[in-house]
């Protein structure tokens, strides 16, 4: 799950249950806030944390995300109404990604739904959507409960994630099945997640036990904490757009931009031929003619430059929304919001002074864009067959 954009005004952020542990681990002491919660940007150094996650394992405080427990006989219908994730089709323990759309098919947010039991689901979203959940529950036999304040969440990513967990005395959940266990008398739930291209696990447990579990993972599992900046590189490399940065929610006060799932490169999360979800009919009207596309580019340059103009065929077609220097490919990897009709693979990006000019950029295939591409090809094949 991706964090939303950082808060514009950092106004006395609240401490997550893991704040004490994170604060003592933070050598760099650089903080920011997301959804009003304090989060460390860097613990030791960005590159060190990045490599740890890539090659070993890293743990992150995921307490700033919005979490809801959804119960009731119609919980699955309720969730498949609110999000595009196919909640009714999930077996117990399974999770699915999706989007939250408004009535006209505009993207509001990302979402992740996990089925914990027959009539209990966990909904995780980057930002809170209390009103939507309130409205969505009208006429449906389900009840959502905000559990943000009550639980703590830790993400463990990297190839060694399962080793870390078992060293800490916790069972690694199966490939795609969540598991719950009692660790030293503490009720925990673990569910597999992907962060970037990295396999990972998210542990959710009562806030009171946050520090105990964190300590066990660090001491016994030998996992180092990872801050927001290193996670941002992993995110961009994996091709996951960030709400509020790479796209703006359609209901954001004052916004005039609306993006459909296809326009933010996530058409596979809102297929038109799957079960019903809020906004699907509206989407049907707009899905066939995307006007923009969010692409990932690799840039032959070492400077980061969000907001820089993107050119194709010599004409400006868009701008960079977020970017990071990727230690893996030794280039800048960037998200760019470009005009759709351009079928170009090669772009140019304006670089600021000194040496003002443009540098070359190419479409860069990320795990996410590969999924989108496969999805589009499958759709085209179906279309052609008809």
């Amino acid at each position: 799950m991706i964090f939303p954009a950082e808060d514009v005004i950092v106004d006395s952020p609240r401490a997550t249950p893991l704040y004490a542990a994170a604060a003592s681990a933070s050598e760099a002491n650089i903080w920011t806030s997301v959804n009003g919660w304090s989060l460390a940007r860097v613990f030791t150094s960005v590159e060190k944390e990045y490599h740890a996650a890539k090659n070993s394992a890293a743990i992150a405080d995921l307490g700033a995300l919005s979490r809801w427990a959804v119960r009731g006989p119609e919980a699955a219908q309720f969730l498949s109404r609110i999000t595009t994730a196919p909640a009714p089709r999930l077996g117990v323990g399974e999770s699915a990604r999706g989007l939250i759309l408004d009535g006209d098919g505009g993207v509001l947010d990302l979402a992740e739904v996990s089925r914990l039991s027959d009539d209990l689901f966990l909904l995780t979203t980057p930002t809170a959507h209390a009103r939507r959940l309130q409205l969505g529950a009208r006429g449906v036999d389900a009840l959502g409960e905000d559990i943000c304040e009550a639980v703590a969440a830790i993400g463990v990513f990297g190839p060694r994630a399962s080793e870390v967990l078992s060293a800490a005395g916790m069972k690694m959940p199966g490939e795609d099945v969540a598991a719950s266990a009692v660790v030293r008398g503490v009720e925990t739930a673990a569910r597999p997640i992907q962060f970037g291209a990295l396999p990972g696990v998210e542990l959710i447990f009562p806030a009171a036990d946050a520090l105990t579990i964190w300590e066990r993972l660090v001491r016994r599992g030998k996992a180092g904490p990872i801050g927001l900046d290193a996670m941002e590189i992993l995110r961009i490399e994996s091709g996951a757009p960030r709400p509020g940065v790479d796209f703006v929610a359609a209901d954001h006060p004052g916004t005039t931009t609306r993006r459909t799932p296809a326009e933010i490169g996530l058409p596979h999360l809102a297929p038109l031929d799957r079960g019903w979800y809020n906004g699907r009919r509206g989407l049907r009207y707009v899905a066939t003619r995307p006007e923009r596309r969010l692409v990932t580019l690799s840039v032959d340059d070492e400077r980061s430059m969000p907001g820089a103009a993107v050119y194709a065929g010599g004409k400006p077609v868009g701008r960079i929304t977020s970017c990071a220097w990727s230690p893996a490919i030794k280039r800048v990897v960037a998200f760019a919001d470009v005009a759709r009709p351009v079928g170009a693979k090669d772009y140019e990006i304006a670089v600021p002074a000194p040496g003002e000019g443009r540098v070359a950029a190419k479409l860069y295939e990320t795990p996410e864009s590969a999924l989108a591409k496969a999805f589009r090809e499958a759709q085209d094949a179906v279309g052609n067959a008809r």
């Binding site: 219908q77 009535g103 009208r138 038109l272 009919r281």
Partner: protein, 522 residues
């Protein structure tokens, strides 16, 4: 024996149908007739046994029956009359251009001819007359301009275009008319007096928007956008009462080979791939068709027949937001004795309106909103048997009245009903003294009563909110939640009180247009 055999039609799937219309009220009949005339194999399904929705004839005393729901027509869409040949199917006017007699608290009366433009020209008081003439000219022009805006499914771009082309002075005036309280508009145009009080009442009549509150002038503008027998802003009494319109619509639908099935309730609307695919009947069985027009209340159509879990939450919020506070009450009285002499009959040959003074009217709205029965009510009354000789009994006379504003009550108890009846009678007495002694039978029809007889919800018959709110809601409801092939012409898609049929016409037109474009059906 299996379930299938138990229920008639159980498990049966009926195909070969082009269009299904749900609900046989005036709008549903209109939509069905339009579809049938276009050559579509159309079925009209009505859950109740009566065709016509709320508007139907009921017996009050032996040999004397009243028309439930509506007693006059004023905003009936002229295009529907022309397109469906309603004159040929039996609509004729017993009184084509009804004069109105206004009665005031201080005993004064005011007569206004049915042709308002003529009436203004012939006004006694010169100062008031010229002001009235100016007012009528301005409002009629604006009302005629707004007419497409009151036809729910009119494309927004058309209205926008018309708006751009409007002269600047008209546009500014429309701005004023659409936002201002009726009281302010009338204050700006007319000198104080009976005429102003009368028009103030007209503006508040059958609306939940009180005349001293914003957006209320539009109620009058909406009424005057209507046209009966070529006369803008007039009222008419059809031969046989308002029910004659419904009967004619039914004949038009039958002539267009529409298959009308009463007592056939729809349990759910089938949606496949976001496209309406047919309906499932309450008794079991399916009827499949690519076009479905729904005329019931939005809550019923979308929340029950489609289900909350299958509609957009914003759409759901919009169609369920309204919490009605006000309603009108209908009172029908059978009176002993018949006035025979021409003079009395001449007086009774009108639309009679009791118009309380401004302050009383304001208090009435405040009281009704707070759940109290107001002392003063606006009354619109007619003597149907005087207007239409055919309906009269020999020794009895009928009076049909609508009173407004009353508190909306989902389930009024006997005390409340008695209180309401007493208040309405007290207000009728103000222009028809001693009527109480002549009453033989009485029928009080509140929103809940009318709803009961049509198996609808009481709130579907509550007083509609301000026109601007109705237009907004009609646009949203008219989108039918973006289900393609589904068209909505129920209560929420209508603008203004009274039989209009515009929503049914526009729903059918939209269905025909899209079917032609998409090459679907027929």
């Amino acid at each position: 024996m299996s379930d299938v055999q138990d229920k008639p039609g159980g498990g049966r799937i009926e195909g070969g149908i082009d269009a299904i219309v749900i609900g046989a009220d005036a709008e549903g009949l209109t939509a069905a007739a339009y579809l049938g005339r276009a050559g579509y194999n159309t079925i009209l399904l009505e859950a109740g046994v009566e065709i016509g929705g709320a508007v139907c004839a009921r017996e009050l005393s032996p040999g004397l029956s009243y028309v439930d729901g509506e007693h006059l027509i004023s905003i009936l869409d002229p295009a529907v009359i022309a397109d469906l040949d309603l004159y040929r199917h039996g609509v004729s006017y017993a009184a084509r251009c009804l004069d109105t007699a206004y009665f005031f608290e201080d005993g004064k009366t005011l007569q206004l001819g049915g042709d308002l433009q003529m009436a203004a020209a012939a006004f006694d008081d010169e100062e008031a007359g010229s002001a009235f003439q100016k007012f009528i000219t301005d409002v009629f022009e604006a009302a005629a301009f707004c007419r497409p805006g009151f036809e729910t499914a009119a494309p927004a771009s058309d209205i926008e275009k018309a708006m751009r082309a409007a002269p600047r002075s008209l546009a500014a005036r429309l701005n004023f008319f659409s936002l201002a309280p009726a009281q302010e508009v009338l204050d700006a145009y007319l000198p104080d007096g009976c005429l102003k009080t009368a028009l103030l009442c007209e503006a508040g009549f059958r609306s939940a928007a009180a005349p001293h509150e914003p957006f209320s002038f539009m109620t009058l503008l909406r009424r005057w956008a209507g046209e009966i027998a070529g006369l803008q802003g007039a009222c008419a009494y059809p031969q046989g009462g308002a029910v004659a319109v419904v009967t004619a619509l039914r004949r038009a639908a039958q002539a267009a080979k529409v298959d009308i099935r009463a007592a056939t309730g729809v349990a759910s609307i089938l949606i496949e791939q976001d496209h309406a695919a047919g309906v499932e009947l309450e008794g079991g069985g399916q009827i499949r068709a690519p076009i479905i027009v729904a005329a019931g209340a939005a809550r019923r159509v979308f929340m029950e027949m489609i289900g909350a879990a299958n509609i957009d939450i914003g759409f759901q919020r919009a169609i369920t937001a309204a919490q009605p506070q006000l309603a009108s009450g209908h009172l029908h009285l059978s009176l002993k004795g018949v006035a025979r002499d021409e003079k009395t009959r001449g007086h009774m040959n009108r639309r009679l309106v009791y118009a309380p003074p401004r302050e009383a009217l304001r208090r009435a709205f405040a009281d009704a909103r707070a759940g109290r029965v107001p002392d003063d009510l606006m009354i619109e009354a007619v003597f149907p048997d005087v207007l239409d000789e055919e309906t009269g009994g020999d020794r009895m006379q009928l009076l049909s009245a609508i009173a407004h504003p009353l508190p909306f009550d989902e389930n009024p108890n006997a005390d409340r009903r008695a209180e309401i009846e007493k208040t309405i009678l007290a207000n009728i007495e103000k222009f028809a003294p001693d009527i109480e002694d002549r009453i033989k039978e009485r029928a009080l029809r509140l929103a809940s009563d009318i709803a009961k007889s049509t198996s609808a919800l009481a709130q579907d018959y509550a007083a509609p909110p301000s026109i601007i709110e109705q237009v907004a809601l009609a646009r949203v409801a008219g989108s039918a939640g973006y289900v393609s092939g589904l068209y909505f012409c129920g209560r929420e898609a209508r603008i203004g009180a009274g039989i209009s049929c515009a929503a049914g016409r526009m729903a059918a037109k939209a269905a025909l247009y899209e079917a032609k474009r998409g090459g679907r059906a027929a």
